[in-house]
Symmetry: C2
Subunit: 384 residues, 2 copies
C-alpha cells in the first residue's frame, strides 16, 4: 500500500466528501438553486475573511483576482506601492507594469516579511502613493508579513491596502475588518482545500469607492460586473459551478471547526515541523516564518531533485522545492488544507529517511519525536 500525500503549498489534498460533492450532477447557474447557493456561500466567505465586505467569486486562479483588485484600485491618477520579497510580490509588480500603473517597488529581503515601519517610510517619502499591495504569506519564501500593523499605517495615511492572502486566508489569522484591510484575495486550492479554479476577493466600501471611480482595461476581471451581478446573487460570466458547490461544502466544514481552531492547528503543524527540523539539524529558511508553509534549508551536499524524488516515489510524499535563487537550496512543506497531525508526522518521518539515504547524519526518530511533543500539546489543548 502506498498512499499519496500532497504537502505542496497548493494544490493541497481535498477531502473525499468535497470531491464527491463536486461530482454531483451538473446544475445550471441561472437558477434559484444557484442564487441560494451563492447567498449561502457569501455569508461563509464573510466569515472566512472576517468581514462585512462584498466577497466576489471569480472563476480563474488567484492571479486573476489579484489582477482584478490591482487594476480596479489603481486606475489613472493613483499610485501603488508594491512590497516585493518573493515570486508573488514580483507578479504584482508585473501587473502594475503591464497595465501601465504608476507604482513604486519596495524591495524586501527574501525570507523577510514587509514591516509597518518600511511601509510607513515609503508612504512618507512619496505622498502620491494611495494604494499599498502586500503579500500576507509569500509562498515562495514561506515568509509572513505583519498585515495588521501595515493596515494601521495605511489607514493612518488614507491609502488603500490590498492583500494577497492566497496562502494566508483560512490558514493563519486574517481579520479584514478589525485590521482595516480594504481588499483581501484568496484561491480555492490552498486553505480552502479545493481543486484550483476559483478565486475569492473581499472588497470593502473604501475599495469600491475607488473601483467605481475608474474604468480599468478589463472586462473579465472588472470587479464592478461581479458586484452588479451579485445584486441578484448572479454571476457575470458562467461560474465554475462544481467548484462553487465544493466551496460551500468546505466553508461549511471550516465554519463548523471554527477559524480559531484551524489557525491553532495550522500553527501547531508549522511549529511541529520547525521543531522537527531543529532536532534534525536543519535550518528554517525564512527569518519571518509564516505558519501556512514551512521552508527548510537543505544541508550541504543534499541533491534536492533526488531528495524530492525519493520523497515522492518511495514514500508518496509530495513536497515543493525552491524557486529562482532558492532552487535546490530549500524544500517547502505545506500545512494547509486537508492535512492533519498524523500526515505531518508522516512527512517528517519520510524526510528523516530520505535525508539519511543521502548521507545526512541524523538520529532516526529525532524529528518525529520533537514534532510529536508539539502535536501532543495541540491535542491536549483541544481536549481542554
Amino acid at each position: 500500500m502506498k498512499k499519496n500525500r500532497l504537502f505542496t503549498p497548493g494544490p493541497v489534498m481535498v477531502p473525499e466528501e468535497a470531491l464527491l460533492e463536486m461530482a454531483r450532477p451538473m446544475e445550471h447557474h441561472r437558477t434559484q438553486w444557484y442564487r441560494d447557493l451563492h447567498k449561502q456561500l457569501h455569508d461563509l466567505l464573510q466569515y472566512l475573511f472576517q468581514t462585512k465586505a462584498t466577497c466576489l467569486v471569480v472563476t480563474g486562479s488567484g492571479t486573476a483576482a489579484m489582477e482584478g483588485a490591482i487594476i480596479g484600485c489603481c486606475t489613472q491618477g493613483h499610485k501603488a506601492l508594491v512590497a516585493e520579497g518573493g515570486k508573488f510580490g514580483e507578479r504584482w509588480v508585473k501587473v502594475c507594469k503591464t497595465f501601465g500603473i504608476d507604482h513604486t517597488v519596495l524591495k524586501i529581503e527574501w525570507g523577510h516579511g514587509a514591516t509597518p515601519a518600511q511601509i510607513e517610510k515609503a508612504l512618507a517619502a512619496d505622498p502620491k502613493i494611495d494604494a499599498v499591495i502586500v503579500v500576507h504569506s509569500e509562498t515562495s519564501t514561506a515568509s509572513g508579513s505583519d498585515v495588521q500593523g501595515i493596515a494601521r499605517v495605511t489607514r493612518g495615511r488614507g491609502a488603500l491596502l490590498l492583500v494577497d492572502g492566497i496562502t494566508a486566508v483560512g490558514a493563519i489569522p486574517v481579520k479584514m475588518d478589525e485590521w482595516g484591510v480594504d481588499v483581501y484575495v484568496t484561491g480555492s486550492q490552498k486553505a480552502l482545500m479545493l481543486p484550483p479554479g476559483l478565486a475569492f476577493a473581499a472588497v470593502n466600501d473604501r475599495a469600491w469607492e475607488r473601483i467605481n471611480s475608474g474604468s480599468p482595461h478589463a472586462l473579465y476581471n472588472d470587479f464592478r460586473a461581479y458586484r452588479k451581478a451579485m445584486e441578484k446573487w448572479d454571476a457575470p460570466y458562467t461560474p465554475a459551478v462544481s467548484l462553487v458547490r465544493g466551496t460551500l461544502w468546505t466553508l461549511q466544514s471550516i465554519r463548523k471547526r471554527s477559524l480559531e481552531a484551524i489557525w491553532a492547528e495550522t500553527a501547531a503543524l508549522a511549529k511541529a515541523t520547525r521543531s522537527a527540523a531543529k532536532a534534525m539539524g536543519l535550518q528554517v529558511y525564512p527569518a519571518d516564518p509564516v505558519d501556512s508553509v514551512t521552508a527548510l534549508c537543505l544541508p550541504e551536499g543534499v541533491d534536492e531533485p533526488s531528495l524530492r524524488k525519493t520523497m515522492r516515489e518511495t514514500y508518496g510524499m509530495h513536497i515543493a522545492g525552491g524557486q529562482d535563487q532558492l532552487q535546490g537550496k530549500i524544500i517547502r512543506i505545506s500545512h494547509m488544507g486537508y492535512v492533519d497531525a498524523f500526515d505531518t508526522l508522516g512527512v517528517i518521518a519520510a524526510l528523516e529517511m530520505a535525508l539519511r539515504a543521502q548521507g545526512v547524519k541524523l538520529t532516526l526518530g529525532a524529528g518525529v519525536s520533537a514534532a510529536l511533543g508539539v502535536l501532543a500539546e495541540l491535542f491536549q489543548s483541544q481536549r481542554s
Copy 2:
C-alpha cells in the same frame, strides 16, 4: 422517480464517468504527470479544432479566452470588425470598447448569421480593418454563421479571423485549418460536456505573429504567457487541475466516437426537434438555425416562465428562455454534450404536455412521432 435533464445551452449534462474522473485525488500541476496530461490533451484539442495550431487551456469562462484573443490580436494600430447579432456578439463589442480597441460594429439582424457577403462589403468599405470577430453559433438566438465562407473572405483580404466557437466546437462542423480560421475559442461546459471553468483557444501562426507584435493590457489573459509555459507543457498560472483531467476524459471519448459521428448526431437531434416543432405547430425562431441549440417561438398566450417551471418541476426538463428582446418569446433546447436521442424525445414529450397544460391545442404524440422519424434515420445510418 424524477430524473433531471439539462437542455440548457451550457452548462450541459456531464457523463458520470467524467464526474468521477474529476473526483479523483488532487495532483500537483508542476509535475511530469501534469506535463504528460497537458501534452496528450493538446493532441486531442488539435483534433477537436481540426488544426495544427497551438491550443491554449485557460482557467476561466469562455469570455476570458475570447477577451484574451481579441486584446491580443487587436492591439494599437489594428482595427476590428465585430459581427454582432446577439448577446455574445454584444459582449465582444464590449471588450473592444473597454480596451479602447479601434472597431466597427456590423449589425446582424437577430436570428440571422453573418454572411461572407456582409463581411466582404464591410472590409471593402474600410481597408483599415485587419481583424474580424464572428460568433459561429450565437447561443442567444440559436443562429449560425457561415464561418467557412467568411474565412475565404478574410483570407482573401489578409485580415485575421477570430471565431467565438463556444457553442460550435465539438457540436457542429469546425475545420479550423481547412477553412483558414486564425483563432477559435470554446468553453468546457458546452459540447465538451464538462462543468464550466475552462476555456480553450486554438491560435495559429498568423495570429501569433500579430499577438507577438503587441503588448496587450493583460497579465492573466495574455496568451503569450500561456504559449511560453507550453514550451515545457506547463501552465503560467495554477490551472483547474480536476477540470483539465475531466477534459482529457471527454476528449478521449469524443475522439473515440469521432467528430463526424458527433456532428451527424447533433444535426439529427436538432432536425428531430425542428420536425417535432413543426408537427406541434411551433415556429423555429432563427432564419439561420444552428444545430447545437434550437430556439422555438412560443404560441401567443403561453406564459414562458410558467412553461419552463412546469418543464422543470413536473418533468425535470431544464430548458432556457430568451434574453432581452426575446425574453418570454422563445425557448431554447440544447443538443450539446451528454444528451442522446432518447433524452431529446423526452424533452419533446414533456414540451407537448406542458404546452397542452397551458391550453395550446396539439395532438399529443405528434411531436415525438415526427422526431422519432428523424431519429430512426440516424440510427439507421449509424448501423450502415
